[in-house]
């Protein structure tokens, strides 16, 4: 009885691990897609002249 219970539990654990992996891969794909979709939106707010902007971002040292 104890044996029987142990077996299925182990395999369901394996399955859970697989599902979690698959899910996280899926989630990551989804995230990637989202980010591709939002790059355009981010392009719209990016400072227009990257080169000038970066060059003129000069700070004094602090702590």
């Amino acid at each position: 009885m104890a044996q029987e219970q142990k077996q299925p539990r182990r395999s369901s654990e394996d399955r859970t691990a697989e599902t979690t992996e698959a899910e996280s891969a899926e989630r990551k794909d989804q995230l990637d897609e989202d980010i591709d979709a939002i790059l355009d939106e981010i392009d719209e707010v990016l400072e227009s002249n990257a080169e000038d902007f970066v060059k003129s971002f000069i700070q004094k040292g602090g702590q």
Binding site: I35, I38, V45, L46, V54, F57, I58, G61, G62, Q63
Partner: protein, 503 residues
């Protein structure tokens, strides 16, 4: 203790005057701070009290001394740079050439993040007020730590610790923790070397600016462990550990884990719980090596010869922390302590598998993910100005322009707090430290407060020639539980002062 202790953060913001790259940053910083003070602080603005705290007695929480403090004296000590205290108990001032916001004292990591994020709102408002001045050029602030041209500016953490803990123990056990914690707390940077001469991505903003292991300096030869000893509490019993190695975080989870895990490690050090040898060889070089490898494969060499990645070293600390909390509290561990442990473990586990899995939680991964997308889509090299721009603009604090804020708006970021909680913290102090007394006094009796600081509130009361200084030497006294009812009841500062000094 647990993750809970008296703590606070300080952030020096990067500053630029739009269209005027040569504008004087000290002037611009003062404009920002002054604009906020003028627009928000009612009546007179309380000055920062630079006077050293002296009385250590703590009768009823406040040892009211009546020593004469001439107002002009304060003006002399105030270095002429803008410096004000806010109703949330925070300090807003100009530090070197940057506007700085220092949170009020908090008792837990979640509150630290809440009042730290409130600082971004304060600075957003400050910029808006400064821009309202006719003919003023817009000023934009950045919550980052470097211009990638050689200059770095800090984001500090402060932790109240027992004085009895030998400083050597702190150095010994905290150094490896600081070398490795950047995999969780880093904000990401495009560029390597202090002046960014090499084009590549790295995990941390600050790593390249640290040159020694231990020291007092903060602006040059920066040390991994800073020895500044200004406890703002009873010096016999406490020290305030001033941590300068962290990156400024936009991500709430990064900030929460930064403060939460550090506080937990400090507890273990105070309780002598860390007996494992975790010291790393050449900490300063190792710090950089970890930062320079965003794949997180770099292996650190420990004094005992073991080789561990930064994530593995963090896992060692996590393992110790789990045992420590279990030993000490068992099932009674408080909720935040358990939450910090769970999130820390979750993040470290994913960092080991694939760092990019943490894009919703950690600043450096969120930034890198965005940069990688641009590299893929537009075929950009790390030298490309656009990638450098993305790095800088990630930290632009404006809601509509900052890329971190954009990611939040697009639901790409995991949050810890609600917008409402953060907005409320702009005006309200934390309820459970002396910041409550300070903030409420500023809110209620502004016209009667001449100055204030972490350790005091100074009243200027009608009919009295001298200023009346109320020391607040104990960070945990002056809480809502302690003085809330009194503050509610006293309509005037005079009434409050009477009540506090009545024998």
């Amino acid at each position: 203790m647990s993750v809970r202790r008296v703590m606070g953060t300080e952030t020096e913001f990067g500053i630029s005057v739009q269209g005027q790259p040569t504008a004087n940053p000290m002037v611009a910083s003062s404009q920002v701070v002054n604009a906020y003070a003028l627009s928000v602080l009612r009546a007179r603005r309380a000055r920062w009290d630079f006077e050293e705290e002296s009385p250590l007695r703590d009768a009823r929480g406040f040892d009211v001394s009546r020593e004469v403090a001439d107002p002009s004296q304060l003006t002399d000590e105030d270095l002429g740079l803008a410096n004000v205290i806010l109703t949330n108990g925070a300090r807003l001032y100009v530090d070197h050439a940057h506007p700085e916001y220092s949170t009020p004292e908090c008792t837990n990591p979640r509150d630290v993040v809440r009042w730290d994020k409130a600082g971004e709102l304060v600075m957003q408002d400050a910029c808006r007020f400064a821009a309202a001045v006719p003919s003023a050029a817009p000023i934009v602030l950045y919550k980052n730590n470097t211009d990638n041209k050689g200059a770095s500016y800090g984001a500090h953490e402060n932790y109240l610790m027992r004085r009895s803990t030998p400083f050597g123990d702190i150095v010994r056990h905290l150094t490896p923790f600081f070398v490795s914690r950047q995999v969780v707390t880093g904000a990401g940077r495009v560029g390597r070397g202090q002046d960014g001469r090499e084009d590549d991505f790295q995990v941390s903003q600050r790593a390249d600016y640290f040159e020694v292991e231990v020291g007092l300096e903060t602006t040059l030869k920066r040390p991994i462990i800073n020895t500044r000893d200004e406890p703002h509490a009873d010096p016999e019993r406490y020290r305030r550990l001033h941590v300068i190695i962290g990156d400024a975080n936009l991500s709430e989870i990064s900030g929460y884990l930064k403060v939460g895990t550090t506080s937990l490690v400090l507890s273990m050090i105070e309780d002598g719980f860390i007996t494992r040898e975790l010291g790393v060889e050449q900490p300063v070089r190792s710090l950089r090596a970890v930062s320079h490898d965003p794949t997180l494969k770099h292996q650190l060499t420990l004094h005992d010869g073991r080789r561990l990645t930064a994530v593995q070293l963090q896992l060692e600390y996590l393992d110790l922390a789990r045992k420590y909390v279990e030993d000490k509290y068992g099932a009674d561990a408080d909720e935040q302590t358990r939450d910090v442990l769970a999130r820390w473990e979750s993040v470290l586990t994913r960092l080991e598998t694939d760092p990019l899995l943490c894009a919703r939680e950690l600043d450096w991964v969120a930034k890198l993910t965005l940069l990688n997308r641009y590299r893929d889509r537009d075929g950009l090299e790390w030298s490309d100005a656009k990638l450098h721009l993305v790095d800088l603009q990630y930290a632009d604090i404006r809601p509509g322009r900052g890329l971190y804020n954009k990611l939040v708006a697009m639901g790409q970021v995991e949050r810890l707090l609600t917008d409402e909680e953060i907005a409320a913290a702009v005006h309200q102090p934390p309820p459970d430290t002396r910041a409550y007394f300070r903030g409420r006094c500023l809110e209620k009796y502004a016209e009667r407060i001449a100055a204030a600081s972490w350790d005091s509130v100074i009243f200027d009361l009608p009919g009295r020639d001298s200023l009346q200084r109320v020391p607040t030497i104990d960070p945990l006294r002056g809480s809502r539980a302690h003085v809330g009812e009194l503050l509610d009841r006293c309509e005037t500062a005079e009434q409050l002062f009477e009540a506090l000094t009545r024998p």
